[in-house]
Point group: C2
Chain length 385, copies 2
């Protein structure tokens, strides 16, 4: 008898995405409990999570920092900064080289906040000199916004240079570090950061359901009365925690229990330096394998992050949907491309993944292209490129 | 040797709260998997959840209805309706008799939307005649907002009467049914409802992490360009689902897996009629037991919902914190009061709770008051009240 090829795998598919990502079983098991959102035990856990997040970022209350978790996805956290911490006569310069920079511009448009977008090509980091010229020329600008790792491509923007320019001209610096925080060291003071946003389901390796905003306390306090939304009112959210230790509105209790465990596992792994090292190794294993197969990455290597990588379609007739399903059938979930200029797909290497699993996904991709009869460029030709 | 009284119980405490509430183990176990938010299997599950939610509400696409899930707590869903579906020259009448009605007024204030609040006392249902007078007098009013079960007290507002008045005067009717949807039948057409909001962690018995908005499609489509927030843009969210079956921004994947299971269990229980019946029995068992102990409920019985009940402190010196901790130590989490006019605490009877567990919490409360040496009014005196 022929074996049943439709028999489902005993294991969940691994996610090679920018998040939601593959998390450890123990992180998910932490959700097997119902916690009362008003109950003192849960409040103590929230306080502990906030304290450990600050420490993880190398920040402290004494140095004037707060961390404010907010319900919703990472986008909600980014929007909350603009909806509540930009004054009504404020103006934001947005540095954009991908979908997440453009999304900030969309947010500002919805909130009717004056803004300018400084664009660079999707394969080109944001330009500190152009930012400086803009800040010199336009005195109305109050805030500068940058996306650290632009997940559209996987490009890293030079937040240290951008922050230095922003601070030299006395503006507020907002960094969307959604997919980078926890996965690489970030020196907040060195980068002149005033607000930094990330979320539960990225490099801390929790599950999705809330974002968190690191903010200078003085800037939060100065925003009294500015919030254009109640749900997205960051100062209001902070005041809630300070009043009774609680989220103002129902928190995603299970997601927070999972995040507490994820933070513990990050601490046990050796903190951000160790995790950054694992992701670098993952990225290296991925690149080695994909180049050997004949794939080429979209970005030049100096600006490529070790978070997520965009790969060019191997030829013009490449059927991504077919490819995606074939790789998924083998147990690996890839991510489509988001680049406007050319056809790509993406492979993330964050989450509970190791070098061994990066090799497995490369093996599955090799099988898929062979099944599809795709003629790959030779590895040496690809390497020479 | 004395037994160790600090030995933790093998079981989680039961939550007698308005949510997050006690959910079944199978609902929580559904979260033991990581799902890709772009993956076709997850998209199919989201489509199924949306379809079954509409059916549960007795609505259909054919009759012009949509359901739009939105990341964040229930408050985010309520605010999204106002932030995105009230025009810039719109005006809202808010019917308020508790904290959740007042919260809608706060939202409108943040969003700089013109509004009037029609208040009744916390023990008095909203007044349809007063609403009618207001709508006749103020032609600028475009929307009417009501909280169905005001969780502050547990009072039920007469949405059928309020909706009839609203429709007679051609206004849009928005119902916050956070703690009632799923726990009692609601006839949308009979009540003239245009928008109704609830959340994942209430009577459907899922875990917290998103809200969902039932809306008339025509009203969503008419709101093009009105949204004051990107994250809270309901029409944008609907368009996202219609474009590729996905949430626009990262959904709480695990919470949605749990909700899918919660919907299945609600269907298996016999739908809303059966669940409503269980909650009524829970409420009845609670009232019988609490009255026997000598407690009195805050609300007169005709306006009391079977969702949550406010009980008066038994005497002026009642130490709620001590009481709360004693009952918690026995394995039951109660809820503090929120009424401005007098001292109360609350007991919810929604979630995966049965009559037997309502009797258990009453027994534990009886033990706690005995330990505290509180002299209760006799049951017969309380009954006569």
């Amino acid at each position: 008898m022929k074996p049943d090829s439709n028999l489902p795998s005993a294991r969940d598919k691994l996610l090679f995405t920018p998040g939601p990502l593959t998390t450890s079983l123990s992180v998910k098991q932490a959700m097997l409990h119902d916690a009362g959102s008003w109950h003192f035990e849960f409040n103590a856990l929230v306080a502990s999570v906030r304290k450990r997040l600050l420490k993880l970022a190398g920040l402290s209350h004494e140095a004037g920092w707060e961390v404010v978790p907010l319900q919703g996805s990472g986008t909600f956290g980014v929007e909350a900064v603009f909806q509540s911490c930009v004054p009504h006569n404020g103006k934001v310069v947005v540095l954009a080289n991908g979908a997440y920079g453009e999304r900030i511009a969309q947010m500002l448009k919805h909130a009717r906040i004056d803004h300018t977008v400084l664009r660079t090509a999707e394969d080109t980091p944001s330009d500190a000199a152009a930012l400086e010229a803009c800040l010199v020329a336009d005195k109305a600008v109050t805030h500068v916004a940058s996306v650290h790792c632009e997940t559209t491509t996987g490009i890293l923007n030079p937040i240290e240079k951008l922050g230095a320019v922003t601070k030299r001209h006395g503006r507020v610096f907002v960094v969307d570090a959604m997919s980078s925080f926890g996965g690489m060291p970030i020196d907040f003071e060195q980068c002149g950061i005033d607000f930094l946003i990330s979320s539960s389901n990225k490099c801390v390796e929790g599950v999705p359901g809330f974002s968190f905003v690191f903010a200078r306390r003085a800037l939060l306090l100065a925003s009294e009365g500015w919030a254009r939304s109640l749900s997205l009112d960051l100062l209001g959210q902070l005041k809630g925690f300070e009043k009774n230790g609680q989220f103002r509105y129902t928190p995603p209790t299970h997601v927070i229990l999972a995040f507490d465990q994820a933070l513990r596992e990050l601490e046990e792994e050796g903190g951000i330096p160790a995790r950054s090292e694992r992701y670098k190794q993952n990225h290296q294993a991925l690149m080695t394998g994909m180049i050997r197969l004949g794939f080429r990455s979209y970005l030049p290597s100096p600006v490529q992050s070790h978070i997520i990588t965009s790969f060019l379609y191997p030829d013009a007739k490449f059927d991504f949907t077919d490819f995606y399903h074939r790789v998924a059938d083998k147990g690996f979930v890839l991510y489509p491309g988001k680049i406007s200029q050319c056809d790509t797909f993406r492979i993330g290497n964050i989450g509970r993944l190791t070098e061994s699993e990066m090799k497995q996904v490369v093996y599955a991709i090799g099988e898929a292209v062979a099944e599809m009869g795709i003629k790959m460029e030779s590895a040496s030709a690809a390497k020479a490129q």
